[in-house]
């Protein structure tokens, strides 16, 4: 029961918090909450409907789609909560603790609907998952009602907490509410940033920077009420990743600074403008610097691989394999891969190109004539099917062809895997044969080897490991050396724009006329 209570509490808290903040904000401004409640009710109904529908058709929630939804909604929530915090910062001082109920200054219909939409999304974010979970606890036969009761109590507790926040916000006047709870709100929003990054990873959008940097099990021991509260409210997980910490700091520090910088120390508008301009230049320089100086992925791919005989791991099947551009070299034999059709294929769990090359070469210097007895010897003691000693007494005209079939899997410039076989065909004509016969023989007249070979398994494993390491390194490089500089550059552009523009009121929530 405790376990389901904790999950219920944690899942419910995130939505309850955002709805509570929106309610407090609206109340503080003397707005009505109808639209917001409508949004919440619609989201709950939709969640229960989808959850129940999935349970009915016994389908699982598409987890990756759910994570994408969570990621986008969390990002939107971050923007909303931040805008609310900034609006309050701007007006907290001016409000002087009074709740003004000035009809002229009311929020526009649009803003109220936007906040209702935010409440809708906040509930929807974990709503599907929570509904599925709740239905599972109710139908779970093993611990039956206790599990369901626990989950329901957890949800109820989270709703109560949200309600308390809204009430607290309403009781206190807006100015004090903000001063007391501003830090808390910024931490909640920073937690949402962290949750956005986590769902982005789970959705498969963000693969870089997933190194675990700390073990917070001591703080948020899984399965405890404390962990549910801390993770649910502040978004702090037990296993924070590098990218999550960076995102958290990158949000928390500037927003907190903007909000709490002592009024007395604020620069005058001209200095502020100059400061923004300088920061823009600094960010741009940082972006360029990182992009230029971030080290390229350094992974050494093996450039040659020994061969083994099929069904045997000994590596005596001739010279090493070496991939040189479009040529596969096997000692003196070179196989041109350019003409072969390259099919993209996952091989050994890696994306690769599959090519099959067949070559036929006439064997020079092989006997041009063969008699029945030699033929029987070649075919393993009996005459091959289709050659009758009565009708085809021989000797036959013999044409020998060497067949080389090579299958390779390459990834970029690297040889991932290869296999092949050599065979010799003998074409017989004359000697009583009306139409020619073709047969495969096991040994070439020159004595060269025939049969199947494979790239040595250890070499394949080594190549696969190296390619995986390279892929990881490329993902990291793509993010740190390409995507991050773009983000920094966009920040620089935004700063430059704000430095050039005149001071304007916060764009989203219209300034209250005092």
């Amino acid at each position: 029961m405790l376990a389901t209570f904790i999950i219920g509490l944690r899942e419910g808290l995130e939505a309850a918090l955002i709805v509570g903040i929106i309610a407090a904000f609206l109340r503080a401004r003397g707005e009505r909450l109808h639209e917001m409640w409508l949004g919440v009710a619609a989201a709950v109904a939709l969640s229960v409907g989808v959850g129940g529908g999935l349970a009915l058709i016994e389908a699982a929630l598409p987890q990756s789609a759910q994570e994408k939804l969570e990621c986008v909604i969390a990002a939107v929530a971050v923007v909303f909560v931040t805008l609310m915090v900034l609006w309050m910062t701007r007006h907290a001082a001016g409000l002087k603790g009074q709740i003004e109920r000035d009809a002229d200054a009311a929020l526009g219909q649009g803003s109220r609907i936007a906040l209702a939409a935010m409440a809708f999304l906040a509930v929807l974010r974990e709503g599907f998952e929570t509904a599925v979970f709740l239905l599972a606890t109710i139908s779970g036969a093993q611990t039956g009602h206790w599990a369901g009761l626990g989950a329901a109590l957890g949800l109820a507790a989270s709703v109560a907490l949200g309600w308390a926040i809204a009430q607290g916000g309403m009781r206190l006047n807006l100015g004090r509410f903000f001063r007391w709870t501003g830090v808390f709100l910024i931490l909640v929003a920073a937690g949402l940033v962290l949750q956005t990054l986590r769902s982005a990873h789970e959705a498969g959008w963000l693969l870089a920077g997933q190194q675990r940097i700390a073990d917070l099990n001591w703080l948020v021991a899984p399965g405890t009420v404390r962990s549910a509260l801390i993770t649910g409210v502040l978004g702090i997980p037990a296993d924070p990743r590098l990218i999550e910490l960076l995102g958290w700091i990158a949000y928390l520090v500037p927003v907190a600074a903007l909000t709490y910088w002592p009024r007395a120390l604020r620069p005058d508008p001209r200095t502020a403008q100059w400061l923004r301009g300088s920061l823009a230049v600094a960010f741009a320089a940082l972006a360029v610097g990182i992009a230029a100086l971030w080290p390229q992925p350094q992974v050494t791919l093996p450039d040659h691989a020994p061969r083994g005989l099929e069904g045997d791991v000994d590596t005596s099947a001739g010279p090493d394999l070496r991939l040189q551009g479009h040529m596969l070299e096997m000692g003196a034999t070179r196989v041109d891969l350019t003409g072969a059709e390259a099919t993209p294929e996952r091989h050994l769990g890696l994306p690769s190109l599959h090519r099959q090359v067949q070559s036929q070469t006439e064997i020079a210097g092989a006997p041009g004539e063969i008699d029945l007895a030699t033929l029987a010897q070649l075919a393993g003691g009996r005459l091959p099917v289709g050659v009758s000693p009565a009708r085809n007494p021989g000797p036959f005209v013999a044409e020998w062809t060497r067949l080389e079939q090579v299958t390779v899997w390459t990834a970029g410039d690297a040889l991932l895997d290869a296999q092949g076989h050599s065979a010799v065909t003998l074409r017989l004509s004359g000697g009583g044969l009306t139409t020619p016969r073709t047969l495969r023989v096991d040994s070439a007249p020159s004595g060269s080897a025939t049969g199947a070979w494979v790239m040595a398994p250890a070499a394949t494993q080594e190549a696969a490991d190296a390619l995986r390491a390279l892929r990881r390194a490329r993902i990291e490089h793509q993010f740190w050396a390409r995507e991050l500089p773009v983000i920094l550059f966009l920040i620089a552009l935004a700063l430059a724009a704000s430095a050039l523009a005149r001071a304007r009121p916060a764009p989203f929530f219209p300034a209250r006329s005092l």
């Binding site: 389901t4 091959p384 099917v385 000693p389 079939q405 065979a423 047969l439 993902i475």
Partner: protein
């Protein structure tokens, strides 16, 4: 899901790597409903554990079924490849029904991540490849064909033993008419598969020595009589029955020897494996048989049931081709279609020569019929020979 020997060998180093982790290496997960089934149990013992019933599976769809038995601290589980999350389950509380997710995985190393467990990462290995390509399918189709053809040959050899025993019985009874009918019934079995079995020699003899050559001993005729070895087999019996019209002790000896040699052939040819080109070369040889032995009328010089042998040769060649056809359609659909059409043409033509009252079901191929129809018959076979002679090379080089 069958693993190729190669894939199985591949699995060795991967499994060896897995063995470094705490759990022992287990067998590949069993397959059910087309997906490998892996059960994961979360327990609260030893600070929380995430236990897999199988730590490897063959490539393809894999269903992970997660049950939280008693681990309040573990409520989430992820399947990872490097840093990519391929599948996950959340909100796993103890006592809840098991939940599952299915993913299609290729060979490689994966991790199961259970945040909150004492040992929160468990290795999972997938072996082999999840799909087959069309190229290798040609080889598979041809292999299926040769295996099917081997069954066909075995069936014919078995029937030939029975039919020659029946012939020998009639000969022993001294029933000339009965023996003639039994002779006509026994002939087609050998004629259908002759190229596959004519290469056998008696143990320890030279293939060019007729005294040890089973084809000679079973199917020699006047035109290829080796005076050193003399008369043997089917045609020796035929000569006595149809030319002399009587059964002598010598006839009985020929028949008994025929049964012995046919049985020997059955022993030698049992379990023989064919290569695709054997089927093609054999079919080509059967058509040459038709041209050289049947149309000329020299095969059945006394009974004149050459058209029975003719039909049997065509049927044997058609069977060999039919077993190659699925693979050949992939290699060269045009040739496959042409040959199928020409076989149909020859069959249609043969319908005109059917005679239910005649011995063996076909018209007697006497001098008159030979004179009027030999050219026509020969031309129809030529039309078939030309495309058929091309397929041995095609199937021998396609692997």
């Amino acid at each position: 899901m069958n693993m190729s020997p190669r894939a199985r060998r591949r699995a060795i180093p991967l499994l060896a790597a897995t063995a470094l982790f705490a759990q022992p290496a287990l067998a590949d997960a069993p397959t059910n409903n087309g997906a490998a089934q892996v059960a994961i149990t979360l327990t609260g013992e030893n600070g929380g554990a995430c236990v897999l019933d199988h730590d490897s599976a063959a490539a393809g769809p894999i269903t992970f079924t997660v049950t939280n038995e008693s681990a309040p601290a573990i409520s989430e589980l992820e399947l990872l490849s490097d840093s990519r999350i391929l599948g996950e389950k959340e909100n796993l509380a103890p006592g809840l029904p098991a939940s599952s997710f299915t993913v299609t995985l290729d060979g490689g190393d994966y991790r199961i991540y259970c945040p909150g467990a004492a040992e929160d990462t468990v290795a999972f290995t997938v072996t082999g490849e999840s799909k087959q390509r069309a190229q290798s399918a040609i080889g598979d189709l041809l292999d299926e064909g040769t295996a099917g053809y081997a069954n066909y040959v075995e069936g014919m050899v078995g029937a030939m033993v029975t039919a020659s025993e029946r012939l020998a019985a009639k000969v022993d009874e001294g029933d000339v008419e009965g023996a003639k009918a039994a002779y006509a019934q026994a002939r087609p079995f050998y004629e259908r598969i002759e190229p596959d079995v004519e290469g056998f020699v008696l143990p320890g003899t030279d293939p060019t020595d007729n005294s040890g050559n089973l084809d000679y001993l079973i199917d020699m005729r006047a035109s290829n009589l080796d005076p050193a070895v003399g008369w043997h087999g089917f045609h020796a019996v035929e000569r006595d029955l149809f030319e002399k019209g009587e059964i002598t002790d010598e006839t009985k000896a020929y028949a008994a020897e025929l049964v012995k040699n046919v049985k020997m052939l059955a022993d030698l040819s049992g379990g023989i494996e064919y290569r695709p080109e054997d089927l093609a070369n054999g079919a080509a040889a059967l058509l040459e048989e038709v041209q050289s032995g049947k149309i000329s009328g020299e095969e059945e010089a006394y009974s004149h049931i050459d058209l029975v042998d003719f039909a049997a040769n065509i049927e044997g060649a058609h069977q060999a081709f039919a077993f190659l056809e699925p693979g050949l359609k992939r290699i060269d659909p045009d040739v496959a279609e042409t040959i199928a059409q020409r076989f149909a043409d020859v069959q249609t033509m043969l319908e005109d020569y059917r005679d239910p009252d005649a011995l063996g079901g076909y018209k007697i191929y006497d001098a008159e019929l030979r004179k009027s129809d030999a050219v026509k018959l020969s031309r129809a076979i030529q039309m078939l020979q030309e495309p058929l002679s091309r397929i041995a090379e095609k199937v021998a080089t396609a692997s």
